[in-house]
Amino acid sequence: MMYGDWLDIGPVGQIEAGTARTLPVEGLKDGARRELAIFHTLRGEFFAIENRCPHKQGPLSQGIVHGDVVTCPLHNWNISLRSGRALGEDEGCVPTIPLKVDAGRLYLLRAAVLGEADEVAAPVPEAATVKD
C-alpha cells in the first residue's frame, strides 16, 4: 500500500512549522486545475489536503494551524488535517492526499495528486514525521 507511486515535492524545510504552502496541479483531465495545501504542524507532522474549505471554498492553507487542525480563514470552520473532516457542529469533508516523509523529503501519492485515487487513498495518510 505504501509502495505506490510517490511524487517527490521537495525538502521538508520549505514549510515553516505551523504553516502551510500551496501546490497547484494543472492540466488535469478536461484541463481542470486543483490546488493542494501541504501542512507542517507544530508537532512536526506533515499533511496534504485540497486547498478548499468544504464550507465556501476558503483557502485552508491560509488558516491558523493548531494541533492537527486548521481553522479556515474565511468563517472559522475547524478542519481536521488528518481526515479532512470538519469538526464540531459543522459538516463537510475535504479530500486528503497520502503523504510520506523520507530522508527529509516530502512525497505525495501520485494517483491521489491526479485526483484518480479516491479508492486508493481510502486509508487516512499515515502521520508522517521526518526521520523514520
Partner: protein, 839 residues
Amino acid sequence: MNAPVNVKAGKGALPAREKLVVIGNGMAGCRAVEEVLSRDGDRFEITIFGAEPRVNYNRIMLSPVLAGEKTFEEIVINTPEWYEENGITLVSGDKVVQIDRATQTVIAASGRVEPYDRLLIATGSDPFIIPVPGKDLDGVVTFRDLDDVDKMLAAADAGQARGGGSAVVIGGGLLGLEAAHGLSLRGMKVTVIHLMPTLMERQLDEAAGFLLRSELERRGQTILTGANTKEILGKDGKVAGVRLEDGTEIVADIVVMAVGIRPATGLAKEAGLEVERGILVDDHMVTSDPAVLSVGECVQHRGLCYGLVAPLWDMCRALADHLTDQPTGYTGSVTSTKLKVSGIDLFSAGDFSGGEGCEDIVMRDAARGIYKRVIVKDNRIVGAVLYGDTADGSWYFDLLKKSEDVSDIREALIFGQAFASGGALADPNAAVAALSDDAEICGCNGVSKGQVVSCIAGGAHSLDAVRASCKASASCGSCTGLVESLLSLTLGGEVESGPATMCKCTSFTHDDVRALILDKKLMSIPHVLQELHWSTPDGCASCRPALNYYLLCAWPGEYVDDQKSRFVNERMHANIQKDGTYSVVPRMWGGLTNPRELRAIADVVEKYNAPMVKVTGGQRLDIFGIKKEDLPAVWADLNAAGMVSGHAYGKSLRTVKTCVGSEWCRFGTQDSTGLGVKLERMTWGSWMPHKFKIAVSGCPRNCAEATIKDFGVVCVDSGYELHVGGNGGIKVRATDLLCKVATEAEAMEMCAAFIQLYREEARYLERTAPWIERVGLEHVKQKLARPQAIAAYAARFHYSQTFMQDDPWAKRAAGERADLHQHLATVRPVDGAFLMEKA
C-alpha cells in the same frame, strides 16, 4: 577488549546437530541465541559472526560510557566464557560479505566459508549519513558502536589539551542528544543542529520539546532548530566546521551525525531475500527463504521497523519458539522511550500526535518544571508524553499496552496511579475526599486540604475567593482541579463561577494571563503555555493570536512576533476576500492624496488586472482581486510612489479621517486635516487589541464623524475636544468626552496616552467602546488624570512605536518571507509523468 576475540567451540560437540549460523554479534543476535539455548541447549551447533572486534555488549549503554558514567567492561553482556561454555564459535572482527542460499553457506571478508542449516541475520542498522559535501572528512563520526565512542573521546581529549574543543551534533533525536550530553560532560562546547522545530519530535510534542530545549540550553548547549546543514567545512582533510543553509557557520573539531538509522539489509538484498525498508519477516521471524531467519533492527515486521531494544526481546522469543518447534508468533510491539541524560526525566510512548476522536489530558506544573500529557481515544490511552515527572510512565504504558478501558478513572488519570488506582478512588472527588486533612493540595503555597476546606467553610465559595483567601491554586494553578473538587465536595452545587476564561485551553482569564506575562517575564508563546498550564499542547486559533498580541504589547523591544499565530490578513498584510484573493489598501495620510499616488494606484490596477478599485468608508482607495503571488510586486510598485501599508487588515490603527478644516472651510476653527495627518504619522503601525479608528473634525458640524470613532477630535475655537470610545459598527455608540485641551501638542500626547492605556488594559478583540462600557469612563479619566501619568503612558506608546513603524510591505517587497507568497511548486501531469515547476 578491543582485539578480536575468537572463541572456538569446545570439543565433544555432537556431530549430528543442525548448524545455526548467526550474522551479527549484537543485541538481537546474541539474545536470540540465549533464547534458543534456554529452550534446547543441544539442538544446534552455533557460529556467530560479528563485524565488531569484540564480544557482545549493551549498545544502549554506550551513552553512559561516553558520558563517563560506565566503563566498557561494565556493559559487556556476553563474556568470552559465555561463548565457550555454550559451545558457540565466535568469529569477531570478520564481516560476512555474502550469503549463498543455493549452497547454504556464508562467506566472510577473511575468506572463511561457513555452511548452515539455519541462518539468522541480525545485522542491526547503519547510521544514516546525510549526503552533504564534506561528509567524508576526518572527524565526521556516527554514534553506533564502541569505535565511534572512542573517536569522540579522542576528540574531547584533544580539545581539552588545547583548552576546550567544539563539537557539532547533527540531529536532535534520542541519539544526538545523548551524544551531545556526553560530549558536553567531556568538556566540549556543543552545538546541536536539528532540522525540525522541536527536539525529539518523534517522541515529544512541542511543549515537552520546549522544556527539554530550555534545560539543555541552561546546561550550556547551543540548540539550533529548523536548521538545515548545507556543508561540512574542512581544513587539511579534517573537519573544521559546519555551514547551514542560511549561511551560519559553526566551528567544530568533530561532527557527530545522528540523523537516523537505516536497517542493514545489504547482504539480504544481494542474496535475493525479500526486502523493503527492512528484511521482510513473518510472525515467526522467517524471511522469504524458510531456512533464513532474521531479528532485530534489520527486519520489517507487519510493515514496521523498530529502533529500540524492547521489540527485539519479543522477536527473539518468537524466533526461539519457532526454531525449537513450539511456535508462538510475534505480533508487533508498542514502544516507549526514555532519554538517558542524567537529571532529565522524559518519557514518551505510543501515538501522541492526537487526531480524530483523540482527547488530550494535559497537566502542567511550572513551579516543578512538569508537563504531562495523556492521549485518550475511545476510552483507551493511546499515547503519553511526560516531562519532569516520569514516575507514572510505566503505569500509563501498561494501560496503553493492555488497551485498558480508562473511563472509570478518566477524571483522575492525569494525577497518576496514586490518585486513579481503582475502586472508590476512581472518582476524583472521591479521591480528594479520601485525602487526609493534612495532605498538601497546593505545593507552591504549601496549603493543606484542611486549610482549603476551612477557608471554603469561612465563606470562600468560588475558585477566585479561595485563591484570594488562602492562596491555594493562586500560583501555578496546577492544583485548580483539586481545589474545584474540594469546593464541590464542601458546598455541593453552590460553587460560584468566576469570570469567563480566555478560551477552552486555559482556566485563566485574559486579565490573569496579561498580569502573569509581566509578573513571570514570559517572553514566548510556548513559555506562556507551559508556565500557565495550558490544557492543549499548542493552543487554538482563539488564544494564539491573543497571546501574540499580549506578548508584543508587554515586550515591544524583545518579543519576536509569531506570524503563524496571526490571522491570515495580518500575516499576509492584506485583506482576504471570499474567492481567496486579496484587497490592497495603501495609506493615504489623513485622507489626502496626490497625482503621483493616484497614478501609481491606477497603474497597479491596470498592470495586475484588478477587477475593482473603490473608495472606502475610511477615505482611501481599495484595490481588489490581487493574488497572493502578486502581492509583493504590487507593494513594490506602491512603495515606489511613496505609499505604505494602510493596515486595513489589522488589529491596529486603521484610518484617520479628516475634514478640510480651517484651511478651506468657512466654518473651520483649526487645521483638522493637518492634525489628522500628524496623528496618523504618530500612530500608524501600532498593534492593538482590536482595530482602532481616529477622526478629526474642524468644527462641531463634525463632517469627519469623529464622535463615532475610537478616538475623535472635534476642533473648537478655544482648542480641541477629545472624545473616546465611539463605534459605528454593529452596535453604534457615540463617544464620551474625555477632556478638552488647548493645543495640538496636548491633543497628540493625550491620544498616545489613551491608546497605550487601551493597549495595556483591553482584552484582545475588545474595541474601545465595549472596553469603556466595561471599565467605566471614570476609570479611564482617573488613569489619565495626572500629567505625569499621561506622559508615562505616552512615553511607553512612543517607545513601542520605535519598533512597530516600519512598513511591512517594503520588507515583503524586498523578499522577506517569500514562502508566504509563493507556491511550493506547480505540478503539471504530462503523458503520465509529472512536470514540477519551482516557484
